[in-house]
Symmetry: C2
Subunit: 199 residues, 2 copies
């Protein structure tokens, strides 16, 4: 067994390689052999840190996906004019990511579809993270309302959930659309919807 | 080898059992052993009709998924007032399907996420079917426009693609949301959006 000089670094290395493997192949088809080969750690070291593939998957979600997701969405949503920032963010997005990144899409969406029905821990991790996003979008609407920018009669919670649904659908379209310009058009329609809600 | 008395019936039996297996487990985890056991056909008969698992998967899509999908969406979209019919359809949907059906969601969405990046035939099958849906929704907008029901300035193609995206997102939310009443709320928001576009 390979000696583990820095267990924290080894653990992080395993998580990062496993995240890449899950993003590329899905959780079920993710190969522990690939993770061992690409991280350069021994099987013993892997099982020392993660007793099972499922434990590794949950840790990838909790320790990498959550941070990346919150960082990605925090950028527009922590702005002091978050609805406008969200619109700008959506319009700029296609030019800021590669075509491969667009096709690959959001790993949280992929796990939501693949594992929600099969593993309660993944399901609740996914739900908690998307609920976080819904709450953040809802908070952005509340702020716009307080600033008198929102039209009357908007159901804040339902509209936030609808925005999140439309983004999840954009992710799905990005997976199968050959013409990525069409995906950008759907993003423009998301922005048009946001503008419909504003005065 | 089991004698095949009615090849057409055997073929259809295999397709139907395979569709169930793919819906329950995903394409990659679908087990040919389960399909053989549950259809009661021999391995020889299976390979006589479908030379590979991939050929079987593509045939399930082409011969079962496409019909079911077009039948499902044809109901509201062939109505003579299709936008209103679509609204009624979305509002009635949660009471017309079981909680299990809601969690399972649309098998075309599941395949879109699982197989688009890995198999060009699945990707193009999925794209063609969702493009069909976009075109049908767009045709519904055109009809509403001709009847003077649509507000000015609506981008018909982008709005149709956005509606489809939001429905795809609802499917994703249905996978992981424990509280199915929240999924119904997102559907209500889809209807509210459609109403925003109408005079």
């Amino acid at each position: 067994m390979q000696s583990v000089k820095d267990p924290t670094a080894t653990r992080l290395r395993i998580l990062q390689v496993a995240a890449g493997e899950i993003i590329n192949n899905g959780y079920k088809a993710a190969s522990l052999a690939n993770i061992l080969a690409n991280s350069g750690v021994s099987k013993g070291a892997l099982y020392h840190h993660f007793p099972s593939k499922l434990a590794l998957g949950h840790a990838v979600f909790e320790e990498l996906y959550v941070d990346r997701f919150q960082h990605f969405w925090g950028f527009p949503l922590e702005n002091e004019a978050p609805i406008q920032a969200l619109c700008d963010f959506f319009l700029a997005l296609p030019s800021q990511i590669t075509e491969d990144e667009m096709t690959q899409g959001c790993p949280v969406c992929s796990l939501a579809m693949e594992m929600s029905a099969e593993d309660e821990c993944f399901r609740s991790q996914v739900q908690e993270l998307f609920e976080w996003l819904c709450k953040r979008v809802q908070a952005a609407f509340v702020l716009a309302q307080q600033n008198g920018q929102l039209k009357d009669g908007v159901n804040l919670e339902a509209s936030a959930r609808f925005i999140v649904a439309s983004i999840q659908g954009v992710q799905m379209q990005a997976r199968y659309m050959e013409d990525k310009a069409k995906v950008s058009e759907t993003l423009i329609a998301v922005v048009d919807y946001l503008k419909l809600l504003m005065r």
